[in-house]
Amino acid sequence: MIIPLEHFLIFAAVLFVIGLCGTLVRRNIVGILMSIELMLNAVNINLVAFSRSTSLDPVTGQIFAIFVVALAAAAVAVGLAIVIALYRVRKTICADEISLLKW
């Protein structure tokens, strides 16, 4: 390995934090979904990096990365469907304008 494990981890951590911040501050729900994708990808990088450089079977990490990709695809499909439905009903896709579910 030419690049030490730590660098990959830090890289993934940076991506994760950026994604997290995006999730927290974006008003647009589609933007939030995109930020979530970013976080998931950061996690995937971690999985692959670990599987590559630690003594475990490298297949394991990649398998789980594949699972994450599949679930992320499902999440995006459902999430965007919800966005569309929401847009149709409420005429808005701003997360901070949707606050009916409270006292």
Binding site: L20, T23, L24, V25, I32, A95, D96, I98, S99, L100, L101, K102, W103
Partner: protein, 618 residues
């Protein structure tokens, strides 16, 4: 045929009938009675077959682990020895006959299926109690019986008197039950077992004399006797039984005459090993029994309600049985229990038939029913002869047995019990003469005979009252007593004398009643005037209700009204209100966190994660 596998069916069948009638009462409707009877009959068949085997010398016993309590494992199972078999016989035969009778008696009642559901549940409990082989199961069944008693006394709960009576019965017996339970615990503490057979083994003076030095053992015996006092309506907790007559008459016959109240005596006979080495305890038992017998008979002399007379008679007869236990002859007590179950059930059912036919139970309105209700009158007369102690009917043999035991122990007890026996004969025939002879006192009553479904059980019970005493009689060489194996039968040269005296006492009572209520009806009124204090004493049941009301009920009510009401209003309610107000206050604060904005929640979650990381990674 192997019967061991069928034993559990005996209580299970009535339980099934209970389940059917309580859950599908609307569907079963008029068939409810026959469902209960069918279950009972099946149990009866199995039970009688078992009893026959036990009579042949077999003992059925089995047990399996129940749960572990500390170091000792609780077991539960059944034990059908001669004692249990006797009770099984009585409960099944009398119980089944009474249920058949109830089909007619309760006909047209609004809650007909529920009545039979309760009765079936009662049968389940009673049969479980009889065949149980340990105190714990015994106690559970005992309490279920108490519940059934409560439910059935208050069966017509629209009547305030019935509701009150059920409550009174429940609470009064509860006092005894607490004692009983404490007794069981004490006994467990001393012996480390609750099984009847194990108890016999542990409490053996030959192998284990040290245990008799334990200071708590007589206390345990007395506490167990408390259970009997409550359940068998002994002095001073007898007050509930007369009021229990508010229930349907067949209930009075089954629960409050033949079976449940006799369970207390059965308990004493079962626990006799605990009692028999303590003369003081036995003396207390004897005195209470004798006192109860005498007192109840005295009260019964002047009661005007046909069922109340019988209720006091029951208390009195139970007093005889308890006294017999105290006198050291449980065999005589169980013998009397058996005969009493038959003739007292017969008398109650006869009374029920009278009530059914005339619509009243007040002796002052009845009279001259002999012609109109032949079957009822005939069977009632047989029952009365049996309880009065006229040979060769059942009651004579068993009562004579008790009197003989008393005669050998103490002349005073013998005298008291003989007096009670005399009064028994008197009040029973007062009842007979006032009800069936003379002229009708209330001409508006048009009596009619009850249907066959009611009179057939009467005749069956009458046959029982005639014959059931014979196995224990001199003529059959006390076969029954030796079958019971409860101590050897007392043979005494005085037996003949005691027997003659008891015949004389019984006949004298009958003749006196004949004189008072048929030949010269003026005498009772005259006596009532000159012996007014005694008359009032008897009429007002020795003022027990008033006494208890003054010393227990009223002070407690006042306490509840004043102090406890204040406490409830301010402290208990205050606490509850405080909980509500506090919750409201806090939630008004906290609900501001719920903004409805998803990202807000996420931020808070994130903050939480950061805190965790901080504390973990510090």
């Amino acid at each position: 045929m192997k019967f061991d596998c069928l034993v559990w069916l005996i209580p299970a069948l009535p339980l099934a009938a209970f389940a059917v009638n309580i859950f599908f009462g609307k569907t079963t409707g008029e068939k409810a009675g026959w469902i209960a009877v069918a279950a009972s009959l099946l149990s009866c068949v199995i039970g009688l077959a078992l009893c026959a085997q036990v009579w042949g010398g077999k003992v059925f016993a089995a047990s399996m682990p129940w749960f572990d309590a500390g170091e000792s494992a609780m077991r539960f199972g059944y034990l059908i020895d001669p004692l249990a078999a006797t009770l099984l016989f009585v409960v099944l035969v009398v119980g089944t006959l009474i249920q058949i009778y109830s089909v007619g008696y309760m006909h047209g009642d609004a809650r007909y299926p529920r009545f039979f559901a309760y009765i079936s549940l009662f049968m389940t409990a009673m049969l479980t109690l009889v065949i149980s082989d340990n105190y714990l199961l015994f106690f559970i069944a005992w309490e279920i019986m108490g519940l059934c008693s409560y439910l059935l006394i208050g069966y017509w709960f629209e009547k305030n008197s019935a509701a009150d009576a059920s409550l009174k019965a429940f609470l009064t017996t509860r006092i005894g039950d607490v004692g009983f339970f404490l007794g069981i615990l004490t006994l467990f503490h001393i012996t480390g077992t609750l099984g009847f057979s194990d108890m016999l083994r542990v409490l053996d003076p030959q192998t284990n004399s040290a245990i008799f030095q334990h200071p708590l053992l007589p206390v345990a015996a007395l506490l167990i006797f408390c259970g009997t006092i409550g359940k068998s309506a002994q002095f001073p907790l007898h007050v509930w039984l007369p009021d229990a007559m508010e229930g349907p008459t067949s209930v009075s016959a089954l629960i409050h005459a033949a079976t449940m109240v006799a369970a207390g005596v059965y308990l004493l006979a079962r626990s006799f090993t605990v009692f028999m080495y303590f003369p003081t305890v036995l003396l207390i038992v004897t005195v209470i029994g004798t006192l109860t017998a005498l007192m109840a008979a005295f009260i019964a002399l002047t009661q005007t309600d046909i069922k109340r007379v019988l209720a006091y008679s029951t208390i009195s007869q139970l007093g005889f049985m308890v006294a017999a236990i105290g006198l050291g002859s449980p065999a005589a007590a169980i013998f009397h229990l058996m005969t009493h179950a038959f003739f007292k059930a017969l008398l109650f059912l006869g009374a029920g038939s009278v009530i059914h036919g005339t619509g009243t139970q007040d002796l002052r309105e009845l009279g001259g029913l002999f012609g109109k209700m032949k079957s009822t009158a005939m069977t009632f007369l047989i029952g009365s002869l049996a309880i009065a102690g006229v040979p060769p009917l059942a009651g004579f043999w068993s009562k004579d047995e008790i009197l003989l035991g008393a005669f050998m122990e103490s002349r005073w007890i013998y005298l008291a019990l003989s007096t009670a026996a005399f009064m028994t004969a008197f009040y029973m025939f007062r009842l007979v003469f006032l009800t069936f002879f003379g002229k009708p006192r209330n001409t508006h009553i048009h009596a009619h005979e009850s249907p066959a479904v009611m009179t057939l059980p009467l005749w069956a019970l009458a046959a029982g009252s005639l014959l059931i005493g014979l196995p224990g009689s001199v003529w059959m060489h006390h076969t029954f007593q030796s079958f019971l194996h409860l101590g050897h039968h007392a043979e005494s040269a005085a037996a003949g004398m005691v027997m003659n005296v008891s015949i004389a006492v019984g006949l004298a009572g009958i003749l006196l009643a004949f004189l008072f209520y048929v030949l010269a009806p003026a005498i009772p009124a005259f006596l009532g005037r000159i012996l007014k204090p005694f008359y009032l004493l008897s009429q007002n049941k020795l003022y027990f209700d008033e006494l208890y009301s003054a010393i227990a009920v009223r002070p407690f009510n006042q306490l509840a009204d004043s102090v406890l009401f204040w406490f409830d209003k301010n402290v208990v309610d205050g606490l509850v209100n405080f909980a509500g107000i506090f919750t409201g206050f806090v939630s008004a604060m906290v609900r501001r966190l719920q903004t409805g904005l998803v990202q807000n929640y996420l931020l808070i979650l994130f903050a939480g994660v950061l805190c965790l990381l901080y504390f973990e990674g510090r």
